[in-house]
Symmetry: D2
Subunit: 352 residues, 4 copies
């Protein structure tokens, strides 16, 4: 089988994980990653002799404006230019800083390459606003796809699961947002909750992906780094009741939802981060969202529950799905997401 | 007019503020406060020559088990025993640690004195579970009342206002809880969100006070100290729509609700704490809950909004209301809460 | 006695407290405060009918570029222009944002008015870099003085006290810095310590004020809001030993140093903030630095100890001292600082 | 070569990492790990089919009091009892909760097995208080060794390096302590610094290991999770000056010290945690302490600098050293620590 050739633009928090994700797909080949400066992420790659996940070598390409002398000085090998990388791939994953992806797209178009953009870009950059479980088929053969952001990706996993099982007409969400990633000194909040104007963009984005659902919500930033928590109040279609049992059943059946409980010791977002480290997962990452079994409560006919979003890694599986859809590697949602899950080891724990 | 004589048991975070609250009521007299040990709160009172709010002298009485020698050594004047205090008052405010109030009640009953307990006690300690705005009349002439907890007190202010204006049948809440008060080293959470089993007790308590409303909710602890934020999704009676305008109007009319906006600079719970300090409020406290105008959004026929609960001081006005009801100082909700508001300076800002 | 007329430029965190400080000095008159925009601090003043500390009315003057219509819309009374204010005063306290003070100075010079600048300005703005206890006499009659920053002000209190008592030749400090004030959403750090390049500017500043002492130090930012903690290692002159008893004695004798202990319940910076609130201090402020008795340890001939800096209010007393020196209200350190302490109620607790 | 057989008692934060460390030593065999309950750490191991670091299977043994039915219910395979494990090993690494190690020692003695205890046990539990670099030879052939705690281990690395290079007579330290590990909900501090009584035990412990050095220090807890920062002021022997260049040279030569700089992007403890994750290190761990090049400053004849202690993993290399010393696998410090470093991949980055 010929492997799909993939490049990654931007080797930051998401880009590193996208590269790892591709390196783990047996039917894809990571051609290389591109960046501008010898950041600590790239110095870390150098320290490991450019070997990334799964023993794969990550070749480094430089985008326009990069100063190669800086890389030489740090003894970081450079494989070529950004155009060189694009020329060698079937599809680019663009995780450049917000706004840069739109500029990169000009290159992708000129060179006739497909691309998947991350949530930081405007929707207009892409033909399809994509989610592996909610609208895989829309991405089939598309040239330019944009992924939902981390919160929206995880949220849609749960709402889509519920919708397919019992029908959802309306959701109201409260996002308790982690304000920065571990080690991110650019953002920060100290002893304060910060509220955004409602409705949150995540609710609006959900409606773009799932137009038959009415969504609104409020977002509050909190001074923590290990995962967002979202509470969701979902109403059934035509006022139909959604029971706790129905909700739990569909969550437990979903490969990318990890149903946990406080009694087991999952006390909050930090427990899930710790568990991912205890699993020995690379970077202490987790691909699944957490869903607290003991948070599921009925509110009249509606159902309420809380999920945990591992912000750094949650979009990686859906981005792999996006490659599969764009390159028509698998014809439908079921086969596409299954292939991704298999290579990433997602859902194995469900057997227990 | 003869002033109602009031004593306070327990001079901790709440007790200090209850004493201040009573000292500010023109128709009440603070007879004294009782405690067990020469805590920092009492040492601070000593440093101020036992002068509290409004220039009132706070006499200190010792509960059973207190070691008077410790007080003598620190040169802290003692006015008598707990029984001495009870004997001199018409009504006790009990803010002893959770569970101690139930024991104190034996004394109150023996000595024929009324009492108002704080939220930490079990409901069974009291005849009436009380909220100044939601059920003032139930408290009229009652001997033993228990206040709602801080979150529930603030939450009910908003839900009761909405209910009286447009009718509410159901609420689903998400409590983003501050985990400790400033300077509380006994509690603490570091870089973690912590979730409780649903439903939250605040939702359950709301139903006890407002039995015609169905309530549920999820509570998440966050590592901050300056106020809880609660998001509320409220459904109208018989499926009737509640509009943004209706909600805003009833919140703006409520003396104990401070409607604020992000654009003014109220970015979160810490902004409200800072504003209370900028107001020069004693201890940097605020009696009103905050309600973000720009958080109010419609969700189908339901209305969603976010409130801020100043946990240390929010129950003080409703406790003053409880004294008024128990002592039948004012015959109804309107006159009772108005008297409290007048003495505490609540709602004056509404004029602007 | 004719009162010295004082104006305050910039009504932010420091400016509010400077105005309060002046309002409490029996021999000074607060003519007014100046600012650019109707900030929350000014809206809070408006809500209190422009009444500040000590029952004093704070007249508001607008600096150049202010939009008076914004103030009118919020019903905030305006007393005149910045020049109007300057024209009415003997001396200005400038707590404008860093850099603006240097521009304001042009006006002060033009109008022949003295001024005291805060730590955010460059040293060159002033004739004297001033500390009430360390170099009061240098400020006598000076036209332009600059205060030390909050950390340096508190640090010098302790080091100067030790130096006068036993002689200090060298200090090495570690500043454990609070990263933002309560309610400051512009700064922030989440689950991270952040280190600055050494030596810290506070060590360098100390040497400017106390040139006979060699100082260096390392500063680490921490995600808290209630006071910096500094550990100080001080060496005696000519290698002479400083004993724990000597150090403790001179700290206990200092009016602006509050010697506390862990056993009393002062567990950290937040305990001191809580204690200031329990004292009923306006804004929950404290003028004294804290010094932990149980942190004082001998290191060979050197002495090591830890102090707590209440960053929002610590410079207020020394700024009052600066007015006294510049206006020659008192002829020397002893009488100048005593006058300030008396009006601010500092050191009264020492009697106990 | 016959491999040394090692068991690990207690599979918590340290125990997991000890097991990983042993699994990576080519001349050791991890016989198994022992614990009491099916904690999340053990459930994580189960989820990975009991495969730990380096592809090694971790057999699980149950200590007395364990309820095997709980393990069966979770489908967790059990290899035997604690005694079974002890019987199969040459040496035990005991990372049971503080105090339990002393009880376990009775078993070790009875069964004639050596053991290495972690810092939580009292010194009396062991014959030798051990540090791989500072006193390897003392551990040679010893039966019971106790490791220094995380802070002390990292601190001694730096002080011992300096001492061997230029001679150290005295150190004064300020420990800016992370208060909990990521995901540890048992400890916590919210918006507060907390000070301990001086001197810190780490200073006292340093003197036990390096009796020719006088040490004291102050410890302040901070609400963060990713590594302690310690500032060290070191004085040379006989008053001899230590220069910045001397200090830097000896730190750069040390395999377990990673010299970093703020300019490279290492802004604080969280940068080092992030870098370890970016390296792809298992659990995001780092074995080296960080040392900021730009924190090194001279203070008269003394030298001051700041180090970062990755609290979860820093003691692992020195514990491997302890096995080597106790089992006399290598005859001296140089060969013992080199063997550990080689297997753990420590110091490789020094080449660049």
């Amino acid at each position: 089988m010929k492997k799909i050739k993939v490049g990654v633009a931007g080797y930051g928090t998401i880009g590193q994980r996208l590269a790892d994700g591709v390196a783990m797909q047996g039917d894809m080949e990571l051609v290389g990653v591109a960046d501008l400066a010898p950041t600590l992420a790239i110095q870390a790659l150098r320290e490991r002799d450019m070997i990334g996940a799964n023993g794969v070598k990550y070749d480094l390409y430089l985008v326009e404006g990069a100063d190669k002398a800086q890389f030489d000085q740090l003894d970081i090998p450079v494989a070529g230019s950004f155009e060189d990388l694009i020329g060698k791939v079937d599809i680019m994953l663009d995780s450049a800083p917000g706004g840069v992806g739109a500029k990169n797209k000009v290159l992708y178009e000129k060179m006739g390459r497909k691309a998947v953009f991350q949530g930081g870009e405007k929707n207009a950059v892409a033909d399809v606003f994509f989610h592996g479980y909610a609208n895989y088929e829309k991405g089939l053969g598309a040239n330019y796809l944009k992924l939902t952001s981390c919160n929206t990706t995880g949220l849609i996993r749960a709402v889509d699961a519920l919708d397919r099982a019992v029908g959802v007409s309306k959701v109201a969400i409260t996002i308790i947002r982690r304000v920065a990633d571990p080690g991110d000194y650019h953002r920060g909040l100290t002893n304060a909750l910060q509220i955004d104007k409602a409705p949150s963009h995540q609710a609006v984005d959900l409606m773009t992906i799932m137009p038959h659902v009415e969504a609104t919500g409020i977002l509050v930033h909190t001074p923590v780094t290990h995962g967002h928590i979202i509470t969701v109040l979902a109403s059934g279609r035509d006022g139909k009741k959604i029971t706790r049992e129905q909700a739990l059943a569909c969550f437990e059946a979903h490969p990318r939802i990890r149903v946990v409980s406080i009694d087991e010791g999952f006390k909050g977002n930090a427990s899930l981060f710790k568990y991912a480290r205890d699993l020995g997962n690379r970077r202490g990452d987790m691909y699944e969202i957490g869903l607290w079994k003991d948070s599921i409560v009925e509110s009249g006919n509606d159902i309420m529950f809380a999920i945990n979003i591992p912000q750094e890694s949650v979009t990686i599986p859906e981005t792999m799905d996006a490659i599969r859809a764009a390159m028509e590697m698998q014809p439908d949602r079921e086969s596409g997401t299954s292939a991704t899950n298999g290579y990433l080891g997602i859902g194995k724990f469900k057997k227990h």
